[in-house]
């Protein structure tokens, strides 16, 4: 396949709920946008505007009702669930507001988890990669701590390292700093910028924090289920 500049492309994506019932509601209307490789983009919008729904569709956790979604050039609407799961596993990394580390595992093991899910066995290579990623986010001394034995900021940095583990083309961060104090929020944001600059990973960050949004290279605003500012 020829190199694809667009990591992500949405063409006329719509999303409706309660289809075929009297209360059918369309929450996303004809969304068309694209993200190029290495972009660092903020997705903003008021609560209830459809940001999270859009992020779930982009993250292949949900399917659009209409329109087409391309991840690294793959058109996803015709893919079976198993293929969608596989594509999600290797092409997309998630960072959530509440970290969502798996508490039964250590920081290192949490970072290894995407590789373990994909490869089935915890090989030495996965361990080394997780070790390196934790070093990159400055958490080597805490790598054997259980997830809930770390501060919120540390947990979020582990979550970012985990999102990077399978070397995805796109990282979707849903208010990654929303639950952190300003100092930790700034540190986490800077870390994402560093990863973006050094590794060329594309970031799409949902945020309510306009200061942080302005530090992104591009802002996409969603209002009432539509893209307000063109990409």
């Amino acid at each position: 396949m020829a190199e694809v500049a667009n990591v992500l492309r949405l063409e006329g994506v719509c999303k409706s709920y309660n289809i075929g019932t009297p209360v059918e509601t369309e929450v996303l209307h004809d969304i068309t946008l694209s993200l190029d490789k290495g972009e660092f983009v903020a997705l903003i919008g008021p609560s209830g505007s459809g940001k999270s729904t859009l992020l779930n569709i982009i993250g292949l956790l949900d399917r659009p009702t209409k329109g087409r979604l391309f991840i690294e050039g793959h058109e996803t609407s015709r893919l079976a669930d198993a293929e969608i799961t596989r594509l999600r596993g290797h092409a997309i990394g998630f960072v959530f507001q509440y970290h969502y580390l798996i508490s039964a595992f250590t920081a290192l093991e949490n970072v290894m988890m995407p590789l373990l899910v994909a490869n089935e066995f915890p090989d030495a290579e996965s361990r080394q990669r997780a070790h390196d990623l934790l070093a990159d986010v400055g958490l080597s001394p805490w790598e054997n701590n259980l997830a809930n034995a770390m501060s919120g900021g540390q947990q979020q940095r582990v979550a970012i390292a985990r999102a990077l583990a399978s070397n995805p083309a796109l990282i979707l961060a849903d208010e990654p700093t929303g639950n952190l104090d300003s100092k930790s929020a700034n540190a986490v944001f800077e870390m994402m910028q560093t990863v973006n600059a050094e590794q060329g990973t594309t970031f799409l960050i949902v945020t309510h924090n306009m200061d942080l949004a302005r530090r992104c290279r591009r802002i996409i605003e969603v209002v009432d289920g539509r893209v307000a500012a063109p990409a």
């Binding site: 993250g59 969502y100 798996i102 595992f105 373990l116 066995f121 915890p122 399978s166």
Partner: protein, 409 residues
């Protein structure tokens, strides 16, 4: 993380370890259930084996007996006549099996049959001084007969020796006649034939009636007392598989034309008792297994709810529905396995202790303990399968969780 363990094993074990309180409680519940099953099964197996051994070592598996004598009316109605015969059942004389040597020789060649021996049973009167007792006299070929009915195991004094003038008597008969080992008694048959016999051994069959009536002599001695020289009243047979006795008996009867009764037919009550015992045991096992299964299922249902965010994250990372399904099925299997290992050990140890503590009045064991390793293997296997089965519903629920909903909680 063990580099040789796959994702599902690692995750299932970690989830169980993290919820250690829940895990401990359900493993304890499974252990108790499995311990009850193992204890009861082993105890009943021991009891049944003991009963079976007692029944099978005190009688042949198949007994061939001569046909009953039947009345044959001599007068038949001719044309124009009416006959209303009153037919009385004839008396049953002691008769020999016709051509028993030939039958014995042919049965000895049957692959299913392990022992064949002729016996001569008759009633007689044992007299010593003024005391006399009616006895059941069985003439046997000790070499073969004692392999069928294990009289030597029950000898309490003397030897299971049967020379021409030897007799083995029960303890009660000894007391009644005031005789002991080496004493002589006068035995008179129904025909009037008399023999003076020496007590070579005294046995205790564990039954007062049997101990006061049963006696054993050499085959020729019994034939002489019954006045039936060269005759035998039964042919006793043992077979390789005692439970196939009924089938073999039918085949023997078809082949020889002589009535063949299996021990299964003559001990129908024993089988009814065994069957009732097995039914109640099975019912108890089923209900205990059900309660174990529901216990595991309820813990895993709660676990799926508690771990819905973890499941959502794993799905977001590319975890397939199959992987999530297997994580929870494995947890069920592991709970069943761990519980059954502890439970089987507890059940086994409990039975050994119980068996050691509970004794008969004379200090001997109530029954010999039978602890088959296969019982433990089956208990562990069945509990693990039950655990996996019980986990099916929660595991399916976990696998089908919508990742978006799961993450949102």
């Amino acid at each position: 993380m063990n580099p040789w363990a796959p994702f599902e094993w690692i995750t299932a074990i970690r989830f169980l370890k993290e919820g250690r309180m829940q895990t401990m409680f359900i493993v304890t519940a499974v252990s108790i259930g499995v311990a009850v099953i193992v204890f009861m099964s082993a105890m009943l197996a021991s009891l049944q084996a003991n009963f079976l051994k007692r029944v099978l070592t005190s009688q042949p598996h198949i007994q061939l007996v001569p046909p009953d004598e039947e009345a044959r009316p001599q007068r038949h109605a001719s044309a124009g006549q009416f006959v209303a015969p009153i037919i009385q059942r004839p008396v049953q004389r002691i008769r020999s099996i016709d051509q028993w040597q030939k039958i014995r020789a042919s049965l000895a060649d049957w692959p299913d049959i392990t022992n064949v021996t002729p016996t001569m049973s008759t009633s007689a009167l044992a007299v010593r001084g003024d005391a006399s007792r009616s006895i059941s006299l069985t003439g046997v070929d000790p070499d073969v007969y004692f392999r069928i009915v294990r009289i030597p195991d029950y000898i309490v004094a003397g030897q299971p020796r049967l020379l021409t003038d030897d007799i083995l008597i029960g303890t009660e008969l000894g007391k009644d006649l005031g005789v002991t080992l080496g004493d002589k008694i006068n035995v008179t048959g129904a025909s009037g034939a008399q023999r003076i016999l020496t007590i070579a051994g005294v046995f205790d069959l564990g039954n007062k009636g049997a101990n006061s009536r049963s006696t054993f002599v050499a085959l020729r001695t019994a034939q002489a007392i019954a006045n039936l020289v060269g005759g035998v009243t039964t042919i006793d047979v043992t077979v390789g598989d005692p439970y196939a006795a009924e089938t073999v008996a039918a085949a023997v009867q078809a082949s020889t034309g002589i009535e063949a009764d299996s021990w299964i037919k003559t001990n129908a009550q024993f089988f009814t008792a065994v069957s009732a015992q097995q039914t109640s045991n099975t019912l108890i096992r089923v209900f205990v297994a059900l309660s174990v299964a529901f216990g595991i299922a309820s813990v895993l249902v709660v676990s799926v709810i508690q771990r819905s965010k973890d499941i959502g994250i794993l799905r977001a990372m590319g975890g397939s529905q199959g992987q999530i399904l297997r994580v929870f099925l494995l947890q069920g299997g592991l709970l069943g396995f761990l519980g059954s290992i502890v439970g089987a050990t507890l059940g086994g140890v409990g039975l050994v202790v119980w068996h050691a503590v509970l004794r008969q009045a004379d200090g001997s064991e109530i029954f010999p303990l039978v602890l088959e390793p296969s019982l433990f293997a089956y208990a562990v296997l069945l509990a693990s399968i039950t655990g996996i089965g019980a986990a099916a519903v929660p595991a399916l629920r976990a696998a089908k969780l919508d990742p978006v909903e799961a993450i949102r909680g």
